[in-house]
């Protein structure tokens, strides 16, 4: 075998603390090495050209580059050797930057360690075999989980790009949190007016299949060929017949159902359409409150339905969808404000969450846009907003900033002054985070134009007291700028509750085989450079399921994810990575340990003609993690490019060096 070695200076990154020329000189003495040199920047265009040139001139069979982490430039160099006619797996990289030059200033020992790493790479390369990627067909369809603004945007972008889209939403209608908002900051646009057209487009798009009241049950397969099982919960209404006329809502006798779309501020009927612009505009029965189900008799909706759509015997439906990629856009849940006992959330009716207040502000909400406090329906004259409820609070295990509460609080304070001109609005805050376009100006407007009183400090307690015109809430907090305790008698207290990961996010992540953090937010592939990818090929993220973010950021991430999916599925075939497990058939004893240990379900046991069992790797499913290989008691299953003989060659090279230095 004829091996060439190139040692990179990386400017001063490596050369400052490693004698690269000495490393190259030492490499010339290694077995099979016929050429070794150093280069200022191996990854640069001239660097790559010289690698290609040397391969041709010296008739090399393999190349070692000693430079940075393979995460940086392995693909660059593999392409270079491929251009010169070699198989891309006849290349090895020794990381002498992150693993040597950047972690120590001892030039002599750095040079020794760099030489060791090059020796190991050469020994591994001597055991390398050319590997070839296989290609497979892809499904040109995408599954989007979650129908909030992120899911809606991703669905439209993918569908407009020519992909078939399956949109799965847990609730009865799409739109998510944004459909509940009254206005959006910083422009005070009507939220549902800007979202509505997009929701209508989703409902009417010929390429979009919408499954609402549905949840993902199971995901199998791999990038390009996922198979997803979706459970469609029955609405007890035949949606092919239902016209959304609302006759059933008028007649339903069960009228005291907490209206979750209105944040339980008001009640709805057991058969319901959540809001006027709902997509799909179809009625569904809540069996927990419907008298037909709780008492066994009623049937009013069935009698009044002009379309004859009500069917109490309907059952859940399970559908299977084959898709090539998946976008998770499962959104957020809000912090449970009843956990903050000192604010009286859940105890005092006039202490409400920001989203409940938002419904109150909305013209299509339970109070038709009139601000009325829940206890007595009076118009509040003093409204106190408390920021960071369930955010930036380690004692509640919520140390992170929820990103957009500062802004919606400013918006709600402005709207309060707009709705009730003789009212006073106070905002207790710790820091104001207004870093979007036009955001800081918006917060200034709240203070300057709308005279919202901002108080820098937290609130310690809220308790009821008698006011001049009826009961009030005394809000006691600190003004840290004054350095004193302050108190305000309020008619209504609005808690700016923070963002939490959606309930069930963890179990979905496990189905999708993606990682999630301690708080349940899904992990992106790289915090800077792969913000919409996950570490599972073919699965992408959009919106608040990844981290708290506002509407424009969610929309941008959704479009980015759609772009990633479109580029992935623009190819008719995908290449599979050949660095996967392979079974040596005659060694396998059929014990099945590998099948049980494989985290991806990539190993199947197959019965041979003589009745014995053999393990078999499903090439497209295997992710090349190598767990099976260490589990196998007879070394019958080997990870290609990381076989036992390759790894032992590296270990031997390293131990031989130690022997020599200890002599």
């Amino acid at each position: 075998m004829r091996i060439g070695v190139m040692v990179c200076h990386c400017g001063n990154n490596i050369a400052a603390t490693v004698d690269v020329e000495a490393v190259a000189a030492a490499a010339r003495e290694f077995p099979d090495v016929v050429f070794a040199t150093d280069h200022m920047y191996a990854c640069s265009d001239p660097g790559q050209k010289s690698i290609e040139q040397v391969i041709t001139d010296m008739k090399l069979d393999g190349v070692v580059v000693a430079s940075c982490s393979p995460r940086m430039h392995e693909a660059t160099f593999r392409r270079a050797v491929e251009r010169a006619g070699l198989n891309r797996y006849m290349f090895e990289m020794a990381n002498i930057r992150e693993h040597v030059a950047w972690i120590s200033l001892d030039r002599r020992r750095n040079t020794e360690k760099a030489t060791d790493l090059v020796r190991m790479a050469v020994e591994k390369l001597r055991h390398n075999r050319p590997l070839t990627a296989k290609s497979f067909d892809v499904q040109k369809r995408v599954l989007i989980v979650g129908g909030g603004v992120a899911g809606v945007q991703a669905a439209l972008d993918c569908a407009d790009g020519g992909l078939d889209v399956v949109l799965v939403e847990r609730k009865q209608a799409i739109g998510g949190i944004m459909s509940k908002l009254d206005k959006t900051f910083p422009t005070i646009d009507c939220s549902v007016c800007v979202l509505g057209p997009k929701m209508v487009d989703v409902g009417q798009h010929p390429r979009i299949t919408l499954h609402t009241l549905s949840e993902v049950e199971e995901v199998s397969g791999y990038v390009g060929n996922f198979e997803v099982t979706v459970r469609k919960k029955t609405p007890y209404v035949d949606w092919t017949k239902c016209t959304g006329c609302g006759a059933c809502l008028e007649k339903c006798p069960s009228k005291k159902v907490p209206d979750s779309f209105n944040e339980n501020v008001s009640f709805c009927t057991a058969i319901n359409i959540p809001f006027p612009q709902a997509i799909p505009k179809r009625a569904a029965i809540d069996p927990a409150h419907c008298r037909q189900f709780t008492k066994g008799k009623c049937g009013v909706c069935q009698k009044v339905c002009p379309a004859d759509a009500i069917d109490y015997t309907m059952q859940d439906e399970v559908v299977t969808e084959k898709v090539g990629a998946i976008i998770a856009a499962t959104g957020l849940d809000l912090f449970d404000h009843t956990k903050c006992g000192e604010y009286g959330g859940g105890r005092y009716p006039d202490v409400i969450t920001s989203l409940a207040y938002e419904r109150m502000l909305s013209a299509s909400g339970p109070t038709a846009g009139h601000i009325k406090r829940p206890s007595d329906g009076k118009e509040p004259k003093t409204v106190v907003f408390i920021s960071c409820v369930g955010s930036r609070d380690r004692s509640l295990d919520r140390p992170y900033c929820s990103n957009f509460c500062c802004m919606y609080t400013a918006k709600q304070a402005i709207l309060t002054r707009d709705h009730i001109p003789d009212s006073k609005a106070y905002v207790f805050y710790m820091d104001i985070r207004a870093n979007g376009k036009g955001y800081e100006e918006f917060v200034r407007r709240a203070q300057e134009e709308y005279a919202v009183e901002y108080v820098r400090g937290r609130v310690a307690q809220v308790y009821p007291q008698a006011g001049p015109d009826g009961p009030q809430l005394l809000v006691r907090g600190a003004d840290t700028l004054l350095g004193t305790q302050v108190e305000i008698a309020a008619d209504l207290v609005v808690l700016a509750v923070g963002v939490e990961a959606s309930k069930g996010a963890g179990s979905l992540a496990e189905k999708l085989r993606i990682s999630y953090d301690h708080y349940g937010f899904f992990l992106e592939g790289h915090p800077k450079l792969k913000p919409v990818e996950t570490n599972t090929a073919g699965v992408y993220l959009a919106g608040c399921c990844q981290a708290p973010k506002d509407i424009p950021s969610s929309v941008a991430q959704a479009s980015a994810a759609a772009g990633k999916v479109l580029s992935l599925l623009s190819k008719d075939k995908l290449e599979s990575d050949p660095q996967i497990a392979m079974v040596t058939g005659n060694r396998c004893i059929g014990c099945g340990k590998c099948e049980r240990t494989c985290p991806f379900g990539a190993i199947r046991m197959r019965e041979m003609r003589d009745g014995s069992q053999r393990a078999e790797v499903v090439e497209t499913v295997c992710q090349g993690c190598g767990i099976c290989s260490v589990t196998c008691p007879v070394r019958a299953i080997q990870l290609q490019h990381f076989t036992d003989s390759q790894l032992l060659a590296e270990v031997n090279a390293l131990c031989r060096t130690w022997d020599e230095t200890s002599e």
Partner: protein
């Protein structure tokens, strides 16, 4: 404080004022991560005695963060703190603020600060009473405090009400059996160790 001629604006020189040994001592004695305080003010917001403090508790925390030893140890607030622990309960960063106040009190006393002499008089009288009787003798303590504080009649009005409710006895009710001797032994051990230089 800096010389006013060198610094006519009397700005606080953060580098010159920082007492790193003090910062480290408060951190280690209290066991609290002082840097985790982000000055939200929730301790002050819930504080029951802030109306009598010269420096509100969140600013005491700030002085400790900045290492301003003299101002932190000479303030009255640390002596007026009732250790009700509302601050500790409320702190979103899990800082035991009441413990920090306690540590500062100890340090202030070691350093000879007593900006609230009556508090010192009362605690000294309380301990002396416990040392003598094995448990506090309320009437005796009240009498001693009344004399030493120089305001003999300040609490006299409370006497009849407390007496009628059985809250005050004329004679000390010392613990039975070995109790009194055991309490006395604690004090002896403490003073013996203090004499050896073990501190308070």
């Amino acid at each position: 404080m800096q010389n006013s001629r060198q610094n006519p604006l009397r700005t606080v020189d953060l580098a010159a004022m920082r007492d790193e040994a003090f910062q480290a001592a408060v951190a280690s004695e209290s066991g609290q991560l002082l840097a985790s305080c982000y000055q939200c003010g929730n301790c002050t917001a819930g504080c029951a005695y802030t109306h009598d403090y010269d420096i509100p508790v969140h600013q005491v925390m700030r002085l400790v963060q900045l290492g301003h030893r003299e101002r932190a140890l000479s303030c009255r607030s640390i002596w007026l703190c009732a250790t009700c622990q509302a601050c500790t309960t409320r702190c979103p960063n899990n800082i035991d603020v009441a413990r920090v106040m306690d540590v500062l009190r100890h340090m202030a006393r070691r350093a000879g600060h007593a900006p609230e002499p009556t508090v010192k008089t009362f605690t000294d009288g309380f301990l002396a009473s416990v040392a003598r009787h094995g448990r506090v003798f309320e009437a005796g303590l009240a009498a001693v405090f009344a004399i030493k504080s120089g305001k003999p009649l300040q609490d006299a009005g409370l006497g009849p009400a407390m007496l009628s409710r059985g809250k005050l006895a004329f004679l000390p009710h010392e613990p039975e059996g070995q109790g009194k001797a055991e309490v006395a032994a604690i004090f002896e051990r403490f003073y013996a160790r203090k004499k050896q230089g073990g501190g308070e």
